[in-house]
Amino acid sequence: MDSHPPERGAKPKSNRNKQQSQHIVRKLPPRVTNDKRNNIYITSKSDFKAQQKRCEDLLNAGTKEIYLHCMGYSITRGLTLALRLIDNSDGALSYAINTSTIKLVDELHPLCDEDDITYRQRNNSALHIKIFNNSLFDIVVPKLPAQTSCTEVNIKKPQKKQK
């Protein structure tokens, strides 16, 4: 294991075929940082309408705030979902966005007997959208989501927008 230092750097896209011929890439699922009910993880395969309904149900049931987490390819989906929720709420909802970078590790399984397993570390950008009830009666101070502590490398400037 020690003889094979882990490869670093982003996933190369151009020489995909060359990569495939040398080893099989096994991706590890990214870590779920918080599995409470009001944390929703958006993937490229999850059904958009179902997740929208899930968010609306959660908010209508009295949850003060929900967090949408999305990573990489599904960031646009997450943004669309957040905007759709806010558009449909007639100004009752506001949001705050955090960005972060998530470290991911891929296992590279060899194709010939002499090699050992190696690793590839790469980073992926992630977005954590907090959607909260913008009620007049309880003044909510939007805080940074607490669950991003362990996986975040650097928190870029948090933006806060009020609608």
């Binding site: 870590r31 050992d116 690793y119």
Partner: protein
């Protein structure tokens, strides 16, 4: 010669002389005859009396002939055999009372009797109370829970923890040098299918590997099974000494695989050994004595020249399979590492041996840290962890509770993945003597309960004696689950396998169940494999062939159990093989050169070729040219709109008409089937009707004949005459066989092109397992198509300009009992056996 003497009164007796002595052998031969006849008389008495009639008068009882218990005990067996020969059943055939049967001794005897024919797992009685049990592969195995748990088991495998007992996998231990094993297994497998047995990543014993086994030098044909294996970690690294290897074989193909191993490594059974006798003189030819062992606990084979050894470890281990992300929590809750004495001895020695850097965790700490992670898929895939745990009985909750994640979650999953533990997973389980001692010294549950009763002052609190219970060595093996992120949920069905020594099965099982694991049976293997999008047994393996034959028989019997108006007429539906997929005829019909002699079909396992085919399907690369007659490719199918898919459905090539219709339907949002098979006429229908009428008429005529005969006899007789028995059984069975053959289509093996052109669309594949997949929220299936059919499909796609780029590859599917063709998305499976 004996001298002749005169008798004392020779004057009276005349010339009669008697010999002075008798030769002993004459005497002995005479006596021998006498003894023989005496024994024969004693054994088979010539008297025609029954046993109870031979008793002296004072021992006779009135009801003796009816009631064997009235006889002295030593005559009872003979009496009952006499009675049964005479046709009189003894009266006392009543089932013994439940109270008698449930006495521990009688119950145990009954259990032992029932295990004579078929093996039981250690958790058998637990399962038998809750599961439907079926006989499979020489074991009595749980099929599915008596409760309705199909969806619950899926949820457990996706979100919680599904627990299955796979102790029926048999473990084969091989002992030899690495070179011998590499060379031998090189003949049984092929480098095309993946890593070999002696790959560097497996050789250290840190990871479990999987190889595809084939019959000796018959690759790609003659597939046996895919087997997982693990190497025993070497005590001293870098030695040429003998290494130990465990192969875990599926019970369906154990015997076939063992036969191949014996042939390849030239092993001999040690059950009969020829031992040379000590030579008395040098000139003698060496003499041998054959020494046969009456009982062998584990079958063992040996090659004296090379020193190879093979040992079949049947029922030496319990192997439990935990599936699902929460299996971490269940394991973490039920296994507490035992550190009492091991902390000084084992870890220090291993550290001395390997001179490992101090920042690496030792096995126990590593295992504990790994079990704290969120999901099993975050650990290195197929990693083996060896750990000594305290007796699992001490770790049970008072009530059945769901194991939850501990609050202090470690965040160093990356470090844990990249840093190996300080030592490879040494375990006591590898040592046969320690295994025997473990199971001998295990405290039985009864003993444990009695001790608790005596010592526990507060119920539920730990006792002092519990610290003295022996620790239990376990091996934990990670399974990575689904690894195709582009079309499956990443890491679905990830989990752990737990290997425990014999006798500890029930103890560990109950603890895991108490921590909220959901028990599953054989049905869950199928459903998890289907959710994963792979096939459990490939159709050319031993297990696959056996399974196909069994399901075909089941379907056939079910079909003929239905009343005729509920059976679907496969001749009208143009389905030639309704109960099993005719792979052999399919590849015969698709072979380019039909003159070649028919070889058996096989499934393509060559990863490079599969990747190139996948490139053709996904990225429209040119089709690779390869020698691919008789070859099937595994594909994953997925229906988009309505429709269901069952196993044994047909996969067909769409025609240009279908494409037009497809586009029109897409525009109109029309969900009807793309094409409906026109009904054929059944030529046998009239034949069957005629046959049935004739048969009925014949039976009626025979009965009338018997009635007439009876009446004629009655006229002359004074007593009442009964009608003669019909005795038409052979006639009826012949008729039903004929009727069955008229119901079913002709066998596809007989005529050429019968499978490929059986219906209005060309058939190029069959579905092997299908159903609704909860992961995909769609009807999914796994099927096999011929390479030439796939080539034609791709060629037609290229020729068709309408189909826009980026559209997935589509094919037509039709269930065997339906006329509707629907489009399904087709994708090539690269990982053929991720489920095993």
């Amino acid at each position: 010669m004996s001298s002749q003497k005169l008798e004392y009164d020779a004057s009276l007796g005349g010339h009669v002389t008697l010999p002075s002595h008798v030769a002993t052998y004459h005497y002995a031969s005479g006596v021998l005859q006498e003894i023989k006849s005496m024994i024969a008389d004693a054994q088979f008495p010539a008297s025609s009396k029954l046993i109870f009639q031979t008793l002296p008068k004072h021992m006779r009882r009135r009801a003796m002939s009816h009631h064997p218990k009235r006889l002295p005990r030593k005559y009872r067996a003979a009496h009952s055999s006499q009675m049964s020969k005479a046709g009189n059943q003894p009266v006392n055939r009543k089932r013994p009372s439940r109270k008698y049967r449930r006495r521990p001794k009688n119950l145990l005897n009954e259990y032992i009797r029932r295990q004579r024919k078929i093996n039981w797992l250690e958790t058998h009685i637990w399962h038998a109370k809750r599961f439907h049990m079926i006989d499979r592969w020489g074991y009595r195995l749980p099929y599915a829970s008596c409760d309705k748990t199909y969806r619950a088991c899926y949820r457990a495998s996706a979100e919680h923890c599904l627990l299955q007992d796979i102790s029926f996998y048999s473990c084969v231990q091989m002992l030899g040098t690495v070179d011998q094993l590499r060379h031998g297994f090189g003949r049984l497998t092929s480098p095309d299918c993946g890593l070999g047995i002696a790959a560097r990543t497996y050789l250290s014993g840190r990871r479990e590997g999987t190889i595809q086994l084939f019959a000796d030098d018959q690759y790609p044909a003659g597939a046996l099974q895919s087997a997982s294996f693990m190497w025993r970690p070497a005590e001293q690294p870098e030695t040429q000494a003998q290494r130990t290897l465990w192969l875990w074989l599926h019970p369906a193909a154990v015997e076939a695989t063992l036969a191949q191993l014996i042939q390849v490594f030239q092993l001999k059974s040690t059950k009969q050994e020829k031992l040379p006798l000590p030579a008395e003189s040098d000139d003698q030819t060496p003499r041998f004595v054959t020494h046969t062992k009456a009982f062998e606990r584990n079958r063992s084979y040996i090659n004296k020249d090379t020193g190879m050894e093979m040992l079949v470890l049947n029922q030496e281990f319990n192997r439990f399979r935990l599936t699902g992300p929460r299996s971490q929590c269940v394991l973490a809750a039920s296994l507490r590492a035992s550190r009492q004495n091991s902390s000084e001895s084992s870890t220090s020695t291993s550290k001395k041996l390997l001179d490992a850097p101090s920042d690496l965790l030792d096995q126990t700490d590593y295992c504990e840290a790994a079990l704290q992670l969120h999901s099993p898929s975050e650990v290195l895939s197929n990693v083996i962890l060896g750990v000594n745990v305290v007796d699992p009985r001490l770790q049970r909750p008072s009530k059945r509770t769901k194991a939850t994640k501990l609050s202090s979650s470690v965040s160093k999953s990356v470090e844990l993945l990249m840093m190996p533990p300080a030592s490879p997973p040494f375990s006591d389980l590898w040592d046969p003597e320690l295994r025997v001692r473990l199971s001998e010294q295990m405290m039985s549950t009864h003993q444990y309960n009695q001790l608790r009763q005596r010592h526990a002052i507060v119920p539920g609190e730990p006792c002092a004696f519990e610290e003295q219970m022996q620790p239990l060595p376990l091996l934990l093996i990670q399974r990575p689950g689904s690894q195709q992120p582009n079309y499956k949920r990443l890491g679905y069905a990830a989990g752990w396998d737990v290997i425990a020594p014999a006798r500890y099965g029930m103890v560990l099982w109950q603890t895991l169940i108490m921590w909220g694991a959901r028990p599953g049976g054989l049905r869950e293997f199928d459903s998890v494999a289907r959710e994963l999008g792979v096939d459990q047994h490939l159709p050319d393996t031993v297990a696959g062939l056996e399974q196909a034959a069994r399901t075909a028989l089941e379907r056939r019997t079910r079909y003929f159990r239905l009343p005729p108006n509920k059976r679907c007429n496969y001749r009208k539906l143009a389905v030639v093989s309704p109960f099993k997929a005719p792979w052999q005829s399919l590849v015969r019909d698709w072979n380019l050169s039909p003159a070649t002699p028919a070889k058996s079909f096989y499934v393509m396992r060559n990863r490079g070729l599969l990747q190139r085919l996948d490139g053709c399907v996904r990225h429209r690369e040119p089709f690779p040219d390869c020698p691919t007659d008789n070859c099937l490719v595994q594909v994953a199918l997925r229906l988009h709109t309505r429709g269901s898919l069952e196993s044994n459905a047909l996969i067909c090539l769409p025609s240009s008409l279908d494409w037009k219709r497809h586009w029109r339907q897409l525009k109109q949002d029309n969900q009807e089937p793309v094409h409906t098979e026109p009904l054929l006429s059944d030529v046998n229908e009239r034949l069957r009707k005629q046959l049935r009428l004739d048969h009925k008429r014949l039976l009626k005529r025979l009965r009338a004949r018997r009635v007439r005969e009876k009446r004629r006899l009655q006229e002359t007789s004074t007593r009442r005459v009964h009608i003669r028995p019909a005795k038409t059984a052979s006639l009826v069975s012949k008729q039903s066989a004929k009727m069955c053959s008229l119901w079913l289509p002709t066998d596809p093996a007989e005529t050429h092109d019968s499978v490929r052109r059986q219906c209005s669309r060309e058939v190029f594949g069959y579905v092997s397992s299908a159903g609704f997949s909860f992961v995909e929220a769609a009807v999914c299936g796994v099927g096999y198509v011929t390479v030439h059919g796939l080539r034609q499909l791709l060629h037609e796609r290229k020729a068709d300009p309408i189909r826009a780029k980026g559209q997935p590859l589509l094919c037509l599917v039709r269930n065997a009992d339906s006329r509707d063709y629907r489009f399904a998305r087709l994708q090539i499976n690269l990982d053929l056996c991720a489920a095993v």
